[in-house]
């Protein structure tokens, strides 16, 4: 008798967990639910539009559905369209792999002023997430707070020329937005020392190689790693990007129609003028699920409930970690699961006409690929209504 498992979230964590479960036990009934009408989470909506190679994992994830027989149940938000109680009643095990999508606030006075935008909101707008807000006005001198890889991704996109975006899947609206930007300099602010910054060396190297970029480090960053120093030395474009390490943001205020960021540094308090502020300091729960309480239950280990990926760990770890954790979790679930044939599994959703399946995604995917211009590898469909009911889908 095969057990029934629901995985909440079709991002890398959910897909790798399903892949590992079905590899070990091909007869399991594995359903992957996602709030969006399309699968793959941040592989589609976070991994940069110009890092298509990294998105190649989507081929593996597609096979989880097409060959390993996992079911995709899209456009279903757990906590709103179906409750956790219903889900746990219907399945032998539930895996929370819902990620973390809300931007962690800066937590300083003024962090909600107009002109302050989170990296999640900005990347969702750039990558045409169905729930994205409009692309913001960044002005001449944006300040980026945070020195992780997400911050570097944003710097790279902001600095690239149209030529350097060839082969990406950046959509026409974001492409025009980038082409119309008025940025003259970017300041990057981080609390850590240069040596302790979270970005990976290859990301900085790539940034330093762009035609427009002129990376700058003020004198105090003695412990900057080799990659950063080499990138600073190599970059000679017209757009200054200045890194200010050991600078802890303490306040934001409005001044002269722009923003003023106050930071504490070892040299004392300093002020940085900003036409906009992009915070890239990590992610937190969007509140649709009661994460704290659910994680406590997961830890207690008694409720046939599991969690993995960003939902479990916070916004740390890249795609390789999602895979390793998914493989470990799959083994744990198989060791612990006790199927109960009375649990209905996906029959719970039999009456729902508003969910979409994996075939629906395959048709959207084919359409997006076919619509690509010669500068682009894909043209994403942006609006939720279009994703749910694309005109003449059967013609795709």
């Amino acid at each position: 008798m095969s057990a029934k498992i629901a995985i909440v979230g079709a991002g890398p964590s959910g897909c790798y967990t399903a892949q590992a479960l079905l590899k070990r036990a091909p007869d399991l009934e594995v359903d992957i639910l996602d709030a969006q009408p399309v699968p793959y989470g941040l592989v589609r909506y976070g991994v940069a539009a110009d890092h298509q190679g990294t998105k190649g994992v989507a081929r593996q994830f597609a096979r989880v559905f097409t060959r390993q027989n996992a079911h995709f149940i899209g456009n279903l938000r757990v906590g709103r369209d179906v409750s956790m109680e219903e889900l746990r009643g219907a399945y032998d095990a539930v895996v929370l792999a819902a990620g973390l999508s809300a931007d962690r606030p800066l937590g300083i006075p003024g962090d909600d002023l107009p002109g302050v935008i989170g990296s999640g909101a900005l990347t969702r707008a750039l990558y045409e997430h169905p729930e994205a807000q409009a692309l913001p006005e960044l002005g001449e001198a944006p300040v980026v707070i945070g020195t992780g890889n997400v911050a570097i991704d944003i710097l790279r996109l902001l600095a690239k020329t149209p030529e350097e975006l060839k082969g990406s899947d950046l959509g026409p609206v974001p492409t025009d937005w980038l082409a119309a930007r008025k940025i003259r300099r970017i300041t990057v602010v981080g609390r850590s020392t240069a040596g302790a910054a979270k970005f990976s060396p290859v990301m900085v190297k790539e940034l330093g190689e762009l035609s427009q970029v002129d990376l700058r480090l003020p004198g105090c960053a003695q412990d900057a790693g080799e990659a950063l120093q080499a990138a600073v030395a190599a970059s000679a474009g017209p757009l200054p990007i200045e890194f200010r390490f050991q600078s802890r943001p303490v306040a934001l205020e409005q001044a002269d129609g722009a923003l003023r960021l106050t930071v504490e540094t070892p040299q004392g308090v300093e002020q940085i003028a900003a036409t906009s502020v992009i915070s890239a300091i990590g992610f937190t729960s969007d509140g649709a699920l009661d994460r704290g309480a659910l994680l406590q239950e997961v830890e207690a280990g008694t409720g046939r409930l599991y969690a993995t990926g960003w939902f479990r760990n916070g916004s740390v770890g890249a795609i390789p970690q999602c895979r390793e954790e998914g493989q470990r979790l799959a083994q744990q679930i198989l060791d612990e699961i006790t199927p109960d044939p009375a649990r209905p599994g996906r029959a719970l959703f039999a009456d729902r006409s508003d969910v979409v399946d994996f075939d629906h995604w395959l048709q959207l995917d084919a359409r997006e690929l076919a619509a690509a211009t010669d500068q682009r590898c894909r043209q994403k469909i942006h609006l939720r209504e279009e994703l749910l009911r694309p005109a003449n889908l059967q013609d795709a």
Binding site: G53, T54, R63, G167, S200, V202, P320, R323
Partner: protein
Amino acid sequence: MNIAIFFGTETGNAEMLAEDIATELEDQHETSVANLADTAPDALLTEGLNVIVCSSYDDGDFPASAKPFVEKVQAAKPDLTGVRFAIFGLGDSEYADTYGFGSMKVAELLVAHGAEALGDRPVHDAAGDALPEDMALPWLEEIIGGLDA
């Protein structure tokens, strides 16, 4: 023929290709698939053929799952005379300076310990349009054809 397929990976692409290769060959050959992370140097076949699929990371480094194997070879310095292998790389031409270096370094390591490399070392480009199995299967068929003859 005995064909042992090994993969070195971080995000699983190399594992998927290793499995595709095994599926393709298993009707005519005895095949096995193993992660390099779980492989000791003496698991390399001296009769038959070893096929290695390996990606690249961080400035031309080995992928995480190949590292334990590399360290074992470096520590034990095994004599790999008689070991024949074919190696296929996964990479991304956006990393132009170090394209396919992970597989290249594995090949160099094995050859340095006496193993014999068969055929060339193609690299699949994650930034390109070709599918890895469409490149790897004909390449391997030719190598195996040469051995059977």
